[in-house]
Symmetry: none
Subunit: 207 residues, 4 copies
Amino acid sequence: MNPSDRHERGREDLRKEILNAARDMFATGSFEEFSMRKLASKIGYSATTIYLYFTDRRDLLNRVCQETFAELNHTLEQLLATASSPLNCIRAGLRAYVEFAVAHPNHYKVVFLLDRPNNPDYRLDPTQDPGSRIYFLLRRLLSDGIDSGEIRPLELDATAQSIWASIHGLATLLILETEFPLEQRDRLIETQTDLLINGLAAQNASK
Amino acid sequence: MNPSDRHERGREDLRKEILNAARDMFATGSFEEFSMRKLASKIGYSATTIYLYFTDRRDLLNRVCQETFAELNHTLEQLLATASSPLNCIRAGLRAYVEFAVAHPNHYKVVFLLDRPNNPDYRLDPTQDPGSRIYFLLRRLLSDGIDSGEIRPLELDATAQSIWASIHGLATLLILETEFPLEQRDRLIETQTDLLINGLAAQNASK
Amino acid sequence: MNPSDRHERGREDLRKEILNAARDMFATGSFEEFSMRKLASKIGYSATTIYLYFTDRRDLLNRVCQETFAELNHTLEQLLATASSPLNCIRAGLRAYVEFAVAHPNHYKVVFLLDRPNNPDYRLDPTQDPGSRIYFLLRRLLSDGIDSGEIRPLELDATAQSIWASIHGLATLLILETEFPLEQRDRLIETQTDLLINGLAAQNASK
Amino acid sequence: MNPSDRHERGREDLRKEILNAARDMFATGSFEEFSMRKLASKIGYSATTIYLYFTDRRDLLNRVCQETFAELNHTLEQLLATASSPLNCIRAGLRAYVEFAVAHPNHYKVVFLLDRPNNPDYRLDPTQDPGSRIYFLLRRLLSDGIDSGEIRPLELDATAQSIWASIHGLATLLILETEFPLEQRDRLIETQTDLLINGLAAQNASK
DNA sequence: TATGAATGAGCATTCATTCAT
DNA sequence: TATGAATGAATGCTCATTCAT
């Protein structure tokens, strides 16, 4: 009953705990199910306590997204470093992307499946937006691939978005769809990247 | 003023009226704006009456979605009947699917993006499940296409799922993401289907 | 526990009960202490129930005032009928006014002691405002009295307001001040009206 | 940053600082806007600290009022000292009283209009009670005036209370009633005091 | 068949206050 | 002396739902 007995942690720890719990709530329930009260009771504190760490619901939500974005961005940056050829880099990147999503489903859901447009609570620094980041990354790789002849000449913007949309669909499905008899995840990822790469690839002549 | 005067219809009629009104609310407003009370007042009946026809809110929502997705299924069936080639049929089907999702974003959300895994009680009739339907449809078309040589030999299950995942990703993005400077929807759909079709297509010989 | 067992009353009855309870709450506590929840629990109903009878807090508050105003106005109308001379009428009116206030302290407090200006919830039809009513009544009586020579020539507006203010002060004190050793109420009313009448009266005789 | 660095003052000093800040908040904002937290942050101390100097919110409010009303008492004492005649002194005192009320509406409300009867625990020190003070003051002046022949023979207690009631009514009205087209405040005060003084005055001359 | 009456749980947020340190 | 951490209770209001009729 005594709070200091229950939680002998530093201020930053509790802040983190709140953020994590909030993201989990988001990801496991739907957006509408999130509430300050449920969050509070989930971490075993009173609702009031949350307001000691975040100014209000909107602030908390923003922090959750920011944190999540940062982590996702970090992963995306690393993709770029490991490139051999543009097409190989895309292939590797798509796989890494899905694997991140599957490994961090709650992060992914918060960022991409949360009805952000309708909720003005979610308005973040656009330079942080992972949607934009991966889009520009893909766009650059496509451009390189077209230049090198690996990739057939395609409209950059729409194609980059299409690729992203496709891989996002796979990520979403692997995260949300637990009942439908999905193929082994790995095999599905393989098939999907093959399909996309093949769709991009220049028709190889005499072959 | 007398309800029996107002509505001298059979049981099935009122049920339909409720469903139609609910679909309207769903189609016009946002998902969050839907409420049993508003629905009731919209059709001029008491809130209680709705519970005579549907066990609860979720049940009603499911019926609404089922009804609406039946339209999609119907459209897809027709495509199948009128298709010239498997590949063309797939192309037309993908477009129809995305257009359906964009036209009925609330339905699409309820079926694919809202707490599916958590509430197994509230699953749609599996034979009606739009995910399953399009999967089996795709699978058949792929099989046909491979047989006819239009499509390169691919593993049927994983490929059908990949295609679906891709198009689902596009649908999701078009529904949720309103801020990112998306290409014109049409053009994006075009690009996406091209990409996928191209990925499926047999490498064309001597070309 | 069963609502229909607890309260077998008609719809209008409960409405009245709510109004009465609300006025009592207002009058006994301060304005800030009023709450929909407290009101609800006071009458033994859930908070939600109140919203079946009034659209919201503001509506309820307005009805309380309206009702109270009406009763006070009714009393004031009657004063006018019983006049002999303007000065006598004023005297009788002042007494009637205080007596109404003392007899209906809660009504009086709601109307005059409730911080209305700061609360936009209290904005009523001005023709109903008893402050205006008694003011115009007084003004007319003063005018008559000055014409007849009973009352010394005084500025009508300011004097009417002064009289009202004075008697309002007495009413307020008799209602609120229960500890201070107040003279017998009757005697105080007598003194007060004497004082005011004397202040109004023309300096008599040869002067 | 270190509190002891910030405020190296004695206990009495901080107490004063709190009172001053509270009086400021009270004087500038509305009564409803006052809160312990806001007060604390205004003076740069934690909310907890206030409770080292005042038992609770009501205690603090009482002290603020007491302090402020002491000003009124002081003003009234001075009038008494410099008065030319009892009647003049009463006139000046009435004006001073109303002007004080209008200048400190929140204080006046707390002392005279807020749940006095219900909370006997929270009464002001009776020897400080402004109601009592002005009553006894008035009583003495009346007595003097009657002795000197300026004021007609009147029952002291009831008359003192009547005068007070009248002026209290004006004060209350000026504080609460902001909508009704009140005469210019000054003029109304003038009229009111005239009326009362006239009511007190001995019937003059040959009569 | 349909309803009117009613409810409990829920929402974000603010408040005065307490307690161990 | 002063604080940081925490809380319980409260606010107006809406929701899905129930129940007796």
